[in-house]
């Protein structure tokens, strides 16, 4: 490979491309890697690239420095991570080595390698994020990298950087049809587009399978999307939108957990009434093994199962956005209660909640039926100035007693827990259910967005002839929370409008609309791009009239489509006559097209007489027509005899390519 004089602007372009490709990784890398990365690239730019002497005399020195940096870097990475494999380590090494490669680049081959490294570095971003902005960002980097590649081949320096970028953008845009064909037809396997390694989702916010005072109110401060739902029919009423998550049975006085392992539901003891609600639920990755579903789910989807307390669970933690087709009934009677579940639904820690137990005993003496006791407690909540707040005072000592008889300020988890304790103390089986309540309707895409601030906790009590009945004590304290959603109950909890826009209704509504449109876009993106698995592919192919295509025929179809589209493009470029402004030229082009279809393609540089002679030489019988048309065309175009235009038009239109009889 020849050494090339790489002009500074191309070197800068390449360096910037590599820097930008690695940039999103920086916060995830050990701090010294970006520092070295920057330093090496800056060094390469600073080193007098024009002074060949420097490179020749200092070659061994630079080589030594490179080897040293590499050894130190690899050792550093190993001490930081404790391993040399895995996603994070791989990317760290890639970033480190790409800057070393830039430093050593001298020959044309080196620069090619750097550009390819850039492409590779760009793609690694997919390991962390697959959002629309990421994709746009990656497209930009790819454009820069492609521009660099074109630049390396532009030996005569015909293009300035802006022209290079334009050219590479054109190239990328032209490749879009092929991209679409590949995307749609490439055989799909189950699972996300990009398999994520184990450590991908270590810190995801969301409902946990344990609850203690403050755990949900903390969650509510996040406006991240938990899941999105599109309903087949109407969206049910806000107060019916209880999204069931983990069911908690066991308490140590402060913390609620599920307790013993959950069993699969064997036989259903549930009676549904009314109409069912069908919907598609697109769950964001939670890294947990449960799925939220509207109360109460009829049946588990294919790769999930129902537990005895009607929680929907999966075998594997959910690490990528996934859609589930579900069907629920909002009115139901749940009768499931086994012997040992009854014991667990009444259990309380031995020595705790003294005051609460005393209070429960009083109630038990006062009222006969469980229904009466429940009503009494709810009334008591209502009459004793309990406050629904996101920022309750800190609870010390026995958290339930402290809350019920002292602070009386709490969020849903306080009420749910306290109510369940009071129930159990009164001898009524009860459990805590966590999940989400409500959701935000996106009118743009007509779907429901459930965010973390919709997190909620409520109670379920067992009544003899009614089964498990949902009691939401929060509804007594703050009816708005249930009926109108958290957006109205605690507006300050929902930070969906920036502070500066709050006082301006036009701006804030505009903000809302933009946010909703973006959310819709995101939803479609997940549904059709990230979630484009075998089912969706089949669905799309069905729509196109292709039924039951297996991966083999799909592959064949893919190649046929790819080959076909390239062929079409080639043919188009070959036969296409550029649109001419001169009418004579236009008619003449039409004439040429007619001949081109029969195999006589006029070369762009072929003059009219030469062309006519070529045609006549092999098609003697056409001589008259071809000669006449050519003569007219020449007269109009080169002799300015515009009055012959009509004659030319007619001659061209009536011209038919006929095979001679002798052929």
């Amino acid at each position: 490979m020849p050494k090339i004089e790489l002009s500074l602007d191309k070197l800068v372009c390449l360096s910037v491309g590599i820097l930008l490709a690695g940039l999103p990784h920086w916060p995830r890398l050990p701090f010294w890697i970006p520092a070295i990365h920057l330093l090496l690239i800056a060094g390469r730019l600073y080193l007098p690239y024009k002074q060949k002497k420097f490179w020749q005399t200092q070659r061994s020195l630079i080589g030594l420095a490179r080897i040293l940096i590499m050894i130190v870097g690899v050792i550093g990475v190993y001490t930081t991570y404790g391993t040399l494999t895995g996603r994070d380590v791989g990317i760290t090494l890639l970033v480190l080595l790409s800057s070393l490669k830039i430093l050593e680049s001298q020959t044309q081959r080196d620069f090619y390698v750097c550009a390819y490294l850039g492409y590779f570095l760009v793609i690694t971003n997919f390991f962390y994020e697959q959002t629309i902005p990421t994709v746009i960002y990656m497209f930009v980097i790819t454009t820069i990298m492609t521009a660099c590649l074109i630049g390396f081949n532009d030996i005569n320096k015909r293009f300035n950087p802006i022209q290079l970028i334009k050219l590479s953008s054109t190239l990328l845009v032209q490749s879009v049809p092929l991209l679409l064909i590949m995307f749609i037809l490439f055989p799909r396997v189950n699972g996300p587009l990009w398999g994520l390694p184990e450590d991908a989702l270590t810190a995801v916010t969301g409902i946990d399978d344990q609850m203690s005072p403050g755990s949900i109110s903390k969650l509510v401060q996040s406006s991240e999307v938990a899941f999105r739902v599109s309903f087949a029919g109407d969206i049910p009423e806000q107060s019916n939108l209880y999204w069931r998550g983990p069911v908690l049975w066991q308490t140590d006085g402060r913390k609620w957990t599920h307790g013993t392992s959950q069993n699969r539901l064997n036989s259903k003891s549930v009676v549904f009434s009314g109409d069912s609600t069908r919907y598609e639920l697109m769950l964001e990755p939670t890294n947990k093994k449960w799925i939220f579903a509207l109360e109460l789910l009829n049946d588990a989807p294919a790769d999930a199962y129902l537990t005895q307390d009607y929680q929907l669970k999966t075998g594997k933690a959910i690490q990528a956005r996934k859609a589930y087709q579900l069907e629920s009934y909002t009115s139901y009677q749940l009768n499931e209660l086994s012997e040992d579940a009854l014991v667990r639904a009444l259990a309380l820690p031995e020595t705790s909640h003294i005051k609460s137990r005393d209070f429960a005993d009083q109630l038990r003496q006062q009222y006969q039926t469980p229904e009466e006791i429940i009503q009494a407690i709810l009334n008591w909540f209502q009459q004793n100035a309990f406050i629904y707040t996101l920022k309750p005072p800190l609870l010390t000592g026995d958290s339930i007693d402290e809350f019920l008889f002292n602070t009386r300020q709490g969020f849903c988890e306080h009420y749910a827990a306290a109510f369940t304790v009071l129930m159990r103390s009164s001898g009524i089986p009860a459990r805590v259910v966590t999940g989400y309540l409500g959701g935000e309707i996106n009118p743009v895409g007509d779907f429901l967005v459930v965010r973390q601030y919709h997190a909620h906790a409520w109670a379920e009590v067992w009544l003899k002839n009614k089964g498990w009945v949902r009691i939401d004590p929060t509804a007594v304290i703050s009816p708005e929370r249930v009926d109108q959603g958290i957006e109205n109950a605690i507006p300050e909890a929902v930070i969906d409008v920036p502070f500066v826009l709050k006082n301006n209704s036009t701006l804030s509504s505009l903000w809302q609309r933009v946010r909703r449109s973006l959310d819709t876009l995101n939803y479609q993106w997940s549904q059709w791009v990230l979630g484009y698995g075998p089912e969706r592919q089949q669905q799309l192919l069905n729509m196109l009239g292709l039924k039951a295509v297996d991966w083999k025929s799909l592959t064949i179809l893919l190649f046929i489509m790819l080959g076909g589209s390239i062929l079409l493009l080639g043919l188009f470029l070959l036969v296409k006559q550029p649109k001419a402004s001169d009418p004579a030229k236009r008619y003449y082009n039409k004439f040429c097209s007619k001949l081109a279809k029969k195999g006589f393609i006029r070369q762009a540089h072929e003059g009219p007489i030469d062309y006519a002679n070529r045609v006549i030489n092999s098609q003697q019988h056409l001589a008259g027509d071809v000669e006449m048309i050519t003569r007219l065309y020449v007269a109009i175009r080169y002799r300015s005899e515009a009055d012959k235009l009509a004659e030319l038009k007619q001659a061209v239109n009536t011209f038919v390519f006929s095979r001679s009889h002798s052929n």
């Binding site: 532009d154 070369q603 540089h605 006549i616 080169y638």
Partner: protein, 313 residues
């Protein structure tokens, strides 16, 4: 097919007869003969680069003979001086005055043989005369006799004892052609035929200088439509901005192409210029003005490459 020949001029007919005549002397070289006559019509000069013995001298001699022009041959050698070309003033004792003895340049058609064997000083004396149509000797300007036409030949530059013409001097030639070896059939005829020089002696002049000057003036009246000028500009543009060539064509080269194309059209009795006319003369007009940039790994000459890459608008 042939588009209608729409000029009916007895001089042109005679010119074509002349081409036939010369073709019978220089066998198989009709294109070169036509280009040479085109060059004369366009008031240009022609440079023939080829190895010795392919008929350069015969060609120029034959053309001079059929056109009825006065002919001088100057053999360039390394000791040739400018005065040997232009002429010199000699003291005449009888008149007691200097008397000018015109050099060989005072003829209609000059064959400057092996021009690159002379020193640059001598070369430039000739080349200046070619550009100015006059020479200045001892502060006295003397007009050359019109029509004035130079056929220069040069040996390939890699031969021993040559002073290559610089680009600026090459530019003074409207065309550069090479003759090349004759094909087998022409060569056989040459071998069995009569002596070429004797044939030239038999040539009867069908033409005279006045007729030639009239035709030279008529070149100007050949029409060039906008479409042709567009094509010419596309050619110039491509040569400058495509990055394929070391240096683009100059405006002077553009004028040369246009003028040569007009002359070519006239020679073929056409009153308009067609793209084919431009393509016909282009290799010889720009062959010595255009070079590939970078490594020359093409199997086309730069001019052929240019023609193939510029679409006819």
């Amino acid at each position: 097919m042939n588009i209608k020949e729409d000029i009916n001029d007895s001089s042109i007919n005679k010119l074509n007869q002349a081409i036939d005549t010369v073709s019978h002397i220089i066998l198989g070289k009709e294109m070169a003969i036509r280009l040479t006559l085109t060059c004369i019509l366009a008031r240009g000069h022609i440079l023939i680069e080829d190895t010795p013995g392919v008929g350069k001298t015969t060609l120029s001699h034959a053309i001079a003979a059929v056109l009825g022009l006065s002919y001088q041959r100057i053999q360039f050698t390394s000791d040739l001086l400018p005065a040997d070309i232009l002429g010199v003033s000699v003291y005449n004792r009888e008149n007691e005055a200097f008397e000018f003895h015109p050099g060989p340049i005072f003829s209609n058609l000059i064959l400057a043989d092996e021009i690159n064997r002379a020193t640059p000083r001598t070369q430039s004396a000739l080349l200046e005369a070619m550009a100015e149509y006059q020479v200045t000797i001892e502060a006295e300007t003397r007009k050359l006799s019109l029509p004035f036409f130079v056929i220069a030949t040069q040996n390939p530059n890699n031969q021993v004892g040559t002073f290559p013409l610089p680009e600026s001097q090459l530019d003074r030639f409207l065309m550069q052609i090479d003759l090349g070896y004759p094909d087998a059939k022409a060569e056989r005829q040459l071998l069995i035929g009569e002596d070429r020089r004797r044939l030239i002696g038999d040539v009867r002049s069908v033409f005279n200088a006045e007729e030639l000057i009239r035709l030279q003036n008529q070149v100007e009246s050949i029409q060039t439509a906008d479409a042709i000028l567009d094509y010419l500009q596309d050619i110039l543009e491509f040569s400058r901005n495509s990055g394929n060539y070391t240096q683009g064509l100059s405006p002077r080269a553009g004028l040369a192409i246009l003028h040569a194309a007009k002359a070519w059209a006239l020679l073929h009795s056409h009153s308009i210029v067609l793209p084919e006319d431009i393509q016909a003369i282009l290799p010889s007009v720009i062959g010595h003005r255009l070079n590939y940039a970078g490594e020359d790994n093409h199997n086309l000459t730069p001019a052929q490459h240019l023609i193939q890459h510029v679409a006819i608008p």
